[in-house]
């Protein structure tokens, strides 16, 4: 009996004690080319980092073309996702602790948080740009990382990042000493740091409510009457009316709005609009609620926008053009425009 067969049998006995013991060797050996194609991870010690190089200047050009639309020209935008850059001081580069993270209002960015430069390289290489992952060359990834590092003054403007210089960069990462491993939550046998007891009687002298939602936020998640079962001993509260008033009627309106909004949102998703337009923030095109704000009170807007969406075009929000949208029917297009102009609510 071969050793691997023996091992397979032992594991079978261990894990599947109830099943008949059989050799389970299945699958096949991976080829070196296959491993090379998929084994993309880069560890903190730079195992897995391919050779290559990119300059800050190259990175800036690449950034404008492929990253700035979502992250802003300086990685500062929070319209699509949290800012990548910011919160790093020169002192942090010396101490290796991002001081902002200990403040009352910490600036959490990719650069202020990351202890390791490998993390940025690995992530951009595996997943960015968001809408075209793994489309960058190795040198482009080096260039993008170099540009990000320069924005936080970790490297100078004439820097070239490559598989060797990246090791020097690691010694200047602003939060390189900021991470701790807490065994209590790393492993299921770990002990917690928050120890409570299960008191059963007279456990507190006074009970005071320290936080509650303000009345004006009552309907911020949409009408809660439409978010619980319609029958049964508890129902969703009609949040279109003030708490405790038991007033009537508006639910009718809400239900109708909610269902047309949900249908329009589905159209926008299915029609690919939301790939370029966020509900609130812009992506490639403007955010839907930005469009609503721009055309508020403009009676001609609905017809104008329907025509624009159909024909495509640029110049109103920037230089990037919207391609002609031929997918939605005329009726669907009208529903989409109404929905956008009413603020593109997600419910």
């Amino acid at each position: 009996m071969s050793r691997s067969l023996d091992r397979a049998m032992r594991s079978a006995v261990l894990v599947l004690a109830m099943l008949p013991v059989v050799a389970m060797a299945l699958g096949r050996a991976a080829t070196p080319e296959e491993i090379k194609a998929w084994d993309i991870d880069v560890r903190p010690d730079f195992t897995g980092l391919p050779a290559g190089s990119g300059t800050v200047a190259e990175g800036e050009v690449l950034w404008e073309a492929k990253c700035a639309s979502c992250h802003g020209s300086f990685g500062e935008s929070n319209s699509v996702f949290a800012p990548l850059v910011g919160g790093v001081t020169r002192k942090d580069l010396e101490t290796g602790r991002s001081a902002t993270l200990a403040s009352d209002a910490p600036t959490r960015t990719a650069l202020s948080m990351s202890p390791t430069v490998s993390t940025l390289w690995d992530y951009i290489n595996r997943a960015m740009p968001w809408n075209a992952p793994q489309s960058l060359s190795t040198n482009e990834v080096y260039a993008a990382v170099a540009y990000l590092l320069n924005l936080s003054d970790i490297v100078p403007a004439d820097f070239t990042l490559d598989q060797n210089s990246i090791r020097e960069v690691q010694k200047r990462m602003p939060n390189r000493n900021g991470m701790v491993l807490f065994p209590g939550l790393w492993n299921r046998k770990g002990k917690s740091d928050v120890i409570a007891t299960a008191c059963m009687k007279d456990c507190a002298k006074s009970i005071a409510i320290s936080s509650a939602l303000p009345e004006h936020a009552r309907n911020a998640h949409g009408n809660l009457a439409l978010q619980s079962r319609e029958w049964g001993p508890v129902r969703g509260a009609n949040t279109e009316v003030a708490a405790g008033t038991g007033a009537t009627a508006p639910i009718k309106l809400a239900a109708k709005q909610a269902s047309t909004a949900a249908a329009a949102r589905k159209l926008a998703e299915g029609g690919g609009c939301l790939g370029c337009h966020g509900l609130n923030a812009g992506i490639v095109g403007p955010g839907m609620s930005q469009v609503a704000a721009k055309y508020r009170g403009d009676a001609a807007a609905a017809a104008k926008l329907a025509a624009k969406i159909r024909a495509g075009g640029a110049g109103v929000w920037g230089e990037i053009a919207m391609p002609p949208q031929r997918g939605p029917s005329d009726e669907e297009l009208k529903a989409l425009v109404d929905w956008i102009l009413s603020g593109a609510a997600s419910e």
Binding site: L19, L26, G27, V180, V194, I209, R235, G236
Partner: protein, 442 residues
């Protein structure tokens, strides 16, 4: 029954508040007459049983359409869907939480669910780069690194192994994150809805690692990676990987749903969701941690001193009352059943206590018949609501003796900016009108 209507403090919500979807449609279509009838029925059924004392309940006395007509044939709904009367219970986003739907979360409507299993279509969604519907014929699992033979498995290969099926909860590490500093969202769907529990079927990871000849002398960690655009990746301790981690393809008796990683995902019992890599394409065995993006920039817990805890993977014991819960209204005083969920990433739930007076006094709830390891556990407590104000809380104790803490106790140690791992006791305030609100207790 009839004398109940005269009791002081009885809740009589206007029935218009509780029109059903169908009734609303009728009203919108201009059928006022229908509305009048519906309101009569509603006030009869809900608020004033005395009104129908003479003849009886129209639901009984009148013929109903379902009892007087022929029903629909088999397979008219080939993949069965819930009743139209359940249309309110769907996954929802929390407005303003994320700006793009591809890097967002849709929460499970816990307020309407029973038992411990989450229907697959209501399992919460969390994607970093949208969801994909991967072709199983082209999906491969590679295992490489510190193994004797790096291997590739097709889905066909994986289905030839004997499988295990286990019921485990899956909770996002950021569940309840919005509530660290103050109350922020109205209902249990948004406070706790990044939570689900399914029966997962697949091959124990240990079997596959053994099949590749894992080098147990050198190996310390496992790395898992997805096939979708995010190529999501996480480090897992070897000890955990060899214990009960499953390479899963099944969810509640069918294949995984695309939003849950079809056709293959990792199941890491007790760990936060981000470790349960979806669209699993590769496992690497290694001797160092990887510091991936979602174990450094996110899913890492900021402490009051500015240090960040990495690799916080275990979901500590937690519980929440799902009915009655925030954003709901209790229609009447008297007998109710408080019902909720408890779970622990360290093992089984031992006990759940419930308080109706904001934590002054506690009673032990009864646990459902299924009390499983690292699974949701249903608890219940009958409650006579006297119509007065109340604050409902639940507190879980797991088999290690760990007691679910109060918000205050968590903050004392971890501050308010940790984002992840908020397992505090949840408080729901009940007012005299029967409305239930999300509150925090000092």
């Amino acid at each position: 029954m009839s004398e109940q209507t005269d009791r002081r403090g009885r809740i009589r919500p206007a029935p218009e508040n509780f029109l059903s979807r169908a009734q609303i449609a009728e009203v919108s279509a201009g059928r006022r007459d229908f509305l009048r009838k519906a309101m009569l029925a509603a006030s009869a059924g809900v608020a004033a049983p005395a009104a129908l004392a003479a003849s009886g309940d129209p639901a009984i006395l009148e013929k109903q359409v379902w009892g007087a007509t022929l029903g629909k044939p088999v397979a008219s709904d080939a993949y069965g869907l819930p009743s139209k009367h359940e249309a309110n219970l769907v996954r929802r986003e929390s407005p303003g939480l994320a700006s793009v739907g591809g890097a967002s979360v849709a929460f499970t409507p816990l307020q309407g669910l029973f038992g411990i299993i989450t229907p697959s279509g209501l399992h919460f969604e969390r994607h970093h780069q949208g969801w994909q519907d991967v072709d199983p014929a082209k999906h491969r699992l590679m295992i490489n690194g510190l193994v004797k033979t790096p291997k590739v498995y097709t889905m066909d290969d994986l289905l030839r192994f004997p499988s295990v099926s286990r019921i485990h909860f899956l909770e996002c590490g950021a569940n309840s994150a919005m509530e660290w500093a103050n109350t922020a969202v109205p209902t249990v769907q948004y406070t706790h809805g990044m939570l689900s529990c399914s029966e997962w079927t697949g091959v124990p990871l240990k079997v596959l690692l053994d099949d590749c000849g894992i080098d147990l002398k050198k190996a310390k960690f496992i790395y898992a990676e997805g096939a979708d655009g995010s190529h999501q990746n996480r480090t897992i301790p070897l000890e955990w990987a060899l214990d009960d981690v499953i390479v899963a393809y099944g969810q509640n008796g069918e294949m995984l749903r695309p939003q849950q990683g079809y056709p293959l995902r990792l199941v890491v019992p007790g760990a936060q969701g981000v470790s349960w890599i979806k669209y699993l394409r590769r496992i690497e065995v290694g001797d160092q941690r990887w510091n991936t993006k979602d174990e450094t920039l996110h899913y890492a817990d900021l402490m009051p001193d500015g240090s960040t805890r990495q690799y916080t993977s275990v979901q500590e014991a937690k519980s929440v009352i799902t009915s009655p819960s925030g954003g709901q209204v209790m229609l009447d005083r008297g007998m109710h059943t408080i019902s909720g969920l408890a779970w622990s990433g360290r093992g089984k739930i031992k006990r759940v206590d419930v308080s109706t007076d904001g934590g002054r006094n506690w009673q032990t709830a009864s646990l459902g018949s299924l009390v499983l390891d690292k699974a949701l556990t249903r608890f219940q407590l009958p409650w006579q609501w006297d119509g007065g104000p109340a604050v409902l809380q639940s507190r879980a104790v797991d088999e290690t003796g760990y007691v679910q803490p109060q918000m205050r106790q968590l903050r004392e140690v971890r501050g308010t900016r940790s984002v992840y791992h908020n397992n505090a006791i949840q408080s729901w305030k009940v007012t005299e009108t029967g409305e239930v609100f999300n509150v925090q207790i000092a």
